[in-house]
């Protein structure tokens, strides 16, 4: 029996010593009965120094002086403060230094004696690292909150989880309303899809980051333009768990860019009108060349055939040349038409009145055009229309220019050009340009819209032809009528866009 106990005790000691946690067994008076290697390492007291001593030597005050009371109270009340629970306490080393200690205590009964076993672990490092963690969390939060750019973290479906102060500013929405919002509530309807697609790409780890320009809702009909840098936040297995959006507010820049763009467009427009004149000269030359060759060849053929000196070879060659030159002229016209057609894609939903007002302003600043006043009569109830504003302005300017040219010789100084918009009986938008000029003869009227027809001393007769093809391409019609008193009125129609829809 004795022998067996000794064997058991030796085995137990070996187990205890192999354990990494400090293990101390005390009796009900607090006297240490067991004290393993790990405990020696933790507290600095050797086994010999510890055994037989009160365990309170391993504690700093106030526990040190109160420990006996703790044990007595437990035995008396059986209400545990630490027994079976375990908690973080402060330990005291032999050198008097204290340290955080994770302590679990259980009661055991050995040989009918109530004993307590304490298992303790020095958690200095753990406490230190969690302190550091807390500190860097705080630091991170300062960085996060005070970052000058808006940051938002959303889940993989695009629901906002956290935002920083700048994000609250950016959206001008309360933080508690912002958190929990979804991307489609925050973005412009036209941009939502793009944004969700980017998030999905990141969520599915197909990409690591994306940069987009997105319009965000600021109020009911006010939008902020943000450049959004999206990055995925990944867990330890490199699987995306969250998406971070960092948003640079570019509203001011973009609207400045747009303004600059509009200005450029206006300049380009003026330039294009100048280019038209230059182009006209160039085209006249290019078309004239083959026409001259055709005329000359055919005349030469006639002469050759009138005489007896017909040389078959000459005639055949000339006819071939006539064919080739006619095709060459056709090619020039085709190029011209593709030039006009090239810009068809720039259609926008615009106010026709704005478009006309802008070009009339331009016409009034062009020194060649200011000799007569332009009277505007613009209907106020016009629906918007989807057109290429620059092309429509080209047409209006051409009609104004024609009117002024027609008036230059005969009109008196108080004659005006009338530009009018209205909605006609068919519901189309109708623009008219009325002049008080010399009008037009029956003969000229029949060829007025033909390319290269002109009554002007300078000019190549492409204006009305190009204008008509522009209006036709917009689904409208261009025609003219004689005024009852003098001059002509040119009309063109454009389809109204129903309900302002795209």
């Amino acid at each position: 029996m004795q022998n067996r106990y000794r064997q058991d005790s030796a085995r137990l000691s070996a187990i205890l010593d192999a354990t990494v946690d400090g293990i101390i067994v005390i009796d009900r008076r607090g006297i240490m009965l067991e004290y393993n290697h790990a405990a020696e390492r933790i507290f600095g007291f050797s086994r010999e120094e510890a055994l037989g001593q009160n365990v309170s030597m391993l504690m700093p005050d106030p526990d040190r002086s109160r420990h006996d009371g703790y044990v007595d109270r437990y035995i008396e009340t059986k209400s545990p403060r630490i027994i079976g629970i375990g908690r973080e306490v402060t330990g005291r080393r032999k050198d008097g230094s204290t340290f955080p200690l994770d302590l679990a205590v259980n009661e055991i009964t050995l040989e009918n004696e109530l004993n307590f076993v304490g298992i303790c672990r020095d958690i200095t490092e753990r406490v230190e690292s969690s302190r550091q963690l807390e500190e860097s969390r705080k630091q991170l939060s300062v960085w996060w909150e005070n970052a000058p750019i808006a940051k938002a973290v959303c889940d993989l479906t695009g629901r906002i989880i956290r935002v920083n102060e700048a994000a609250v500013d950016f959206w001008s929405i309360d933080r508690h309303r912002l958190v929990g919002s979804t991307i489609d509530q925050l973005t412009h309807p036209e941009d939502t899809q793009q944004c969700l697609l980017a998030i999905r790409e990141l969520a599915e780890a197909r990409r690591e980051r994306r940069t987009l320009q997105i319009r965000f809702r600021k109020s009911r009909d006010e939008w902020s333009i943000g450049q959004v840098h999206c990055t995925s936040v990944r867990n330890e297995n490199d699987v995306p768990v969250e998406i971070m959006l960092q948003i640079v507010d570019r509203t001011a820049e973009v609207s400045a860019e747009e303004e600059a763009g509009e200005h450029r467009e206006r300049l380009a427009h003026v330039t294009r009108i100048g280019t038209m004149a230059e182009m006209a000269t160039g085209i006249a030359h290019e078309v004239n060349q083959p026409l001259t060759a055709i005329a000359t060849y055919s005349q030469a053929c006639r002469r050759l055939m009138q005489d007896d000196r017909i040389e078959r070879e000459d005639i055949l060659d000339a006819l071939e040349q006539i064919n080739a030159q006619a095709l060459r002229a056709g090619e020039v016209i085709r190029r011209l038409r593709s030039f006009v057609r090239k810009r068809e894609s720039d259609r926008q939903l615009v106010s026709l009145n704005d478009v006309i007002r802008e070009i009339v302003t331009l016409a009034n600043t062009d020194s060649n055009l200011i000799e007569f006043e332009i009277e505007l009569d613009l209907a106020s109830d016009l629906p918007r229309t989807k057109v290429d504003p620059v092309q429509i302005q080209q047409v209006v300017l051409n009609l104004i220019q024609n009117g002024k040219d027609a008036m230059r010789d005969t009109a008196s100084a108080d004659d005006t050009i009338g530009v009018r918009t209205r909605r006609n009986a068919a519901g189309q938008l109708e623009v008219s340009v009325r002049d008080c000029g010399t009008g037009i003869s029956e003969v000229d009227a029949s060829t007025l819209f033909d390319p290269f027809f002109t009554t002007k001393k300078s000019g190549m007769g492409m204006g009305l032809s190009i204008s008509r093809s522009i209006i036709t391409a917009h689904g409208g019609t261009l025609w003219f009528e004689r005024n009852p008193d003098k001059g002509l009125t040119f009309y063109f129609t454009l389809p109204a866009t129903i309900g302002d829809e795209e």
């Binding site: 030359h285 060349q289 001259t292 050759l304 040349q321």
Partner: protein, 204 residues
């Protein structure tokens, strides 16, 4: 003086127009030569060749206007007809000021062009004949002796033999001999004829 037929020289950088004009000239039996550039024509230019120049005003490289000016600087007399495009009116006006015979707008009627060409060829023929005449007279005047020239100059100024004799300090009889030699050497048939020839020689 060239013995060749008058030639229509066409200078145009557009091959189709060159060939068409060539055929047109051929159809009316006119000799024609075509050149693709002003430079090409200048390289082949021979002042003695009769004819007229049909010149495109707008060419890549040296323009028709530039070629015309270069020819004027060489004292060329060949008449020039400019063919112009729609927008080249101001250039054509400048060419006329520079002394071009004519200009004609593309596309043109064959009759108009051929009329202008015939007119230019006639002009060139007249010019060349007059020039040749002038050359002949001045050659003959060069052949006179210095004394005969002195006598001629005084006679054409309208002085009678007596005055001429007095001026030159020789006898009236000697003047008469010089005078008849002058008339004979120049081939003049009368005093007014002589005066005309002398004036023409001085024009040069």
């Amino acid at each position: 003086m060239s013995k060749m037929d008058p030639t229509v020289f066409v200078v145009d950088d557009d091959e189709a127009i060159r060939k068409a004009l060539k055929l047109l000239m051929k159809s009316v039996g006119l000799a024609v030569e075509t050149y693709a550039s002003a430079r090409e024509y200048l390289d082949a230019y021979d002042p003695d060749r009769a004819g007229c120049l049909v010149l495109d005003i707008r060419m890549s490289g040296m323009s028709g206007i530039d070629l015309h000016r270069e020819l004027l600087a060489k004292h060329a007399i060949t008449p020039v007809i400019f063919i112009t495009g729609h927008g080249d009116v101001s250039m054509a006006v400048q060419a006329m000021k520079d002394g071009a015979v004519d200009f004609i707008q593309k596309p043109f009627s064959d009759q108009t062009l051929l009329d202008r060409i015939q007119h230019s060829l006639k002009l060139d023929e007249d010019n060349r004949r007059a020039l040749a005449q002038q050359q002949k007279i001045s050659d003959r005047i060069q052949a006179l002796t210095p004394r005969e020239r002195e006598v001629m100059e005084l006679i054409v100024e309208g002085h009678p033999n007596k005055v001429v004799a007095h001026r030159l300090g020789i006898s009236e009889r000697t003047i008469e001999i010089h005078r008849s030699r002058v008339m004979k050497k120049l081939g003049a048939t009368s005093l007014p004829h002589l005066v005309r020839m002398s004036l023409r020689a001085k024009e040069e």
